[in-house]
Subunit: 497 residues, 2 copies
Amino acid sequence: MKVVNAAGRLIETDISGETFKPFSGAKKHNYSSKITNLSDALKKCGLKDGMTLSFHHQLRNGDFVINKTLETVLNLGVKNIMIAQTAMFNVHNPIIDLIKEGIVTRIEGSINGVVGDYISRNPLPYPVVLRSHGGRWAAIKKDELHIDIAVIAASASDERGNSTGIIGKSAFGPISYSQVDAMHADYVIMVTDSIIDYPCKYQEIQERYVDYVAQIDRIGDSSNIMSGTTKITDDPMELKIARDCVDLMDAAEIIKDGMIFQSGAGGISLAAMKYLGERLEEKKVIASTATGGLTKLIVDIYKAGHVRNLYYSQVFDDYAVNFVQETLGIPADIGHYADPTSKGRTIDGLDTVVLGATEVDINFNVNVNTHSDGRMLHGIGGHQDTAAGASLCIITCPIFRKKNPIVREKVTTISTPGEVVDAIVTDKGIAINPKREDLIENLKGKIDIVQIEELKELAYDATGGPQELEFEDRLVGCTKWFDGTVLDIIKKVKGLE
Amino acid sequence: MKVVNAAGRLIETDISGETFKPFSGAKKHNYSSKITNLSDALKKCGLKDGMTLSFHHQLRNGDFVINKTLETVLNLGVKNIMIAQTAMFNVHNPIIDLIKEGIVTRIEGSINGVVGDYISRNPLPYPVVLRSHGGRWAAIKKDELHIDIAVIAASASDERGNSTGIIGKSAFGPISYSQVDAMHADYVIMVTDSIIDYPCKYQEIQERYVDYVAQIDRIGDSSNIMSGTTKITDDPMELKIARDCVDLMDAAEIIKDGMIFQSGAGGISLAAMKYLGERLEEKKVIASTATGGLTKLIVDIYKAGHVRNLYYSQVFDDYAVNFVQETLGIPADIGHYADPTSKGRTIDGLDTVVLGATEVDINFNVNVNTHSDGRMLHGIGGHQDTAAGASLCIITCPIFRKKNPIVREKVTTISTPGEVVDAIVTDKGIAINPKREDLIENLKGKIDIVQIEELKELAYDATGGPQELEFEDRLVGCTKWFDGTVLDIIKKVKGLE
């Protein structure tokens, strides 16, 4: 067909068997500032009952943004909201009241502390879905988890929405969790307490994804933004476990030039990193890359020349934040770090990672989500992702804590399946997953290995065995493997009210 | 339904009315190098007849990658390929033989020079589709243009595919066109002549999108990588036009603190930027941002303190490449710069842009694609995008060249519709689009304006009017507006063989 288009040209609409649309007119693409307040931003995004709002947790226990947003939702008379935060802390205690009032009725995201305790006693109509960092990224990408409005905290933003967490009075390190929310949510609101001149110099989130920039007084309490989990343990038993981790790495022959290791937070893991740094120095080995969370400890190893690159997704202390402000280095957002649907990830080449556990079992399954009394108090974080990515995944724990056996027949909840766990280092010995025959062979004559069942027996002897829990049918939550399948369910414990 | 999953847990598959999949097993995500050769990479990507291969043009007239890839396609016995390059230069002359042999049968992408001349005389079975930078980005994002295999030149890559154009012996500035190809193509091959240690420090393309890294001897001839279009004109008539552009900006009151301007390549545009730099200095005005292509000229304006930020998508000369290697600044990929489907773009706040034309008409339509003899010799580039984005879009041209009127009744091809063109600055006066009544009012008494029809008459008087072309029905190509609609068609001229 021939038609005259809006530019006055006679054009064909069928060319070589394909259909072409005629030009219908052009207009100037004008521009206006996106700055508004949080309430107006939510209204302009069409906030209504039943929607899903997402958040990141990089302001940690200093975060004001989740509470402030949900308070605004309450004031707007909207209810029945699902929240999809990357994690939640004790500062989010006000959510308990919002749950009671029916404002928040569903949660898909990690929960640490008081809100988890409350929900363990008072399950929501839907189970809380716990995912790993990489699993959450993939779920949003695949629309298994659909976000209506992403509410993203930034320590600085320009009026167009180019935003960062690196600079500003509430700096928390590069925004690394929310790119997937920004790309896939229907609407995106950047929330900031610092509007800076265009163009924002750092742009972990770019204007192309941003609908509104909501200015609030303060996004967080800077004294609580930096995590408390970055203190190295001074417990002699834990220090021994940390040292044994490094001996295990050494015996497994992975402490060599070019090694890539994950540096997490958590007392024993940090101590292991400290000893690894010393071992690198002793052996005159230069590692290629430290991935994961950045702490002063890791920056010091870098500055001492024992690791060539810092490839970080989070920044855990003020020292590391200042370091990043001066020397950006190579930040990796969580998708680059751990998206299981991608063609290549930071964690895929990981030689080793040292991770914690609240419980482990004789099948090498690890629980990091529930306490042995059945309360859901922690998220999965990068546990699954790094365990599956690392050649040598080391889990550390004492065999018992107080009267509770940590090494046991069955974990209360499976967070990471034993299939991807290679070693468990405890105060009473190191157990290697029998499926890792190569590793067991390689370690022979170099390091003592015990059977996991022996560790369990020792733990049971010392404690009298685990507390038996009785469950109701009501679901508190479930853990998903990073491919979206259900790894385990968390039921309400009878008597926990 | 209750089932026992692969972790041995009894889980529910129907929870609160939703279906959950049971865990089916975990495995270690192991990693291996992606390095291979180009032929194997293409084979592993399942190259076959009828596929679409995409390329960027940032190696310009020094590019070896398109020719090398198509030669490999030929050697593999594959034919009927569509190529979707961002632009093509005279160095791509060998494509003419591949067209003759049926290896390349369809092109959607900008064509400069000899290949365009050939196709103008020998149309392909499908018309060449010409899109703007932003239009191409949107077409790939919307799958209007589907890429089977993206072949992306990088001046350095690590073995996982984290890649850059900033460093390496064939550095050409940040890769800025290919992110959309990487994100949406079925397969992605990085082609490089410089494999560097993991992790590559700059990563315009990240491993998450990369299937293979193909190592070749040289990706380009560095003496031809940097464009020849960055020489300022020394033609007195063109210098006058450039100066008049700056007088027009001044009269339109846009030369003020915080202004944002686009710095393109091309003789007159560059001269206008030089004069704008001087005017900023004279008026003691500090511009906010220079966007677009980076040249020594713009870096000098920045170093002199007359513009606070360089927000660049391309780097045009060695001086600017070196500058970027030392001071990364704020690169903007083409999606950030110009994707019309995004929520915010660099060009949306543009105060002014100075663009060229091969022809303009009395409706302010601009042709940059065809010569007046009907030959398709140039791409659209960012012409449409910046014209629609800028508050004051200035087109520069002489009213005639040799015996050919440039200002005319109707352009041979519409590249950018008059609707988004504000002013045409010529050697014989400045015409303002009558639709811009506000601008005309604002300029009164400050600057002389002529009617576009007067300029046309002068051009016709001096040349005897335009050469009339007779067309065949066969289509050489078409121009699309950045929303995917057909702006104009390019037919084969009778007698052009």
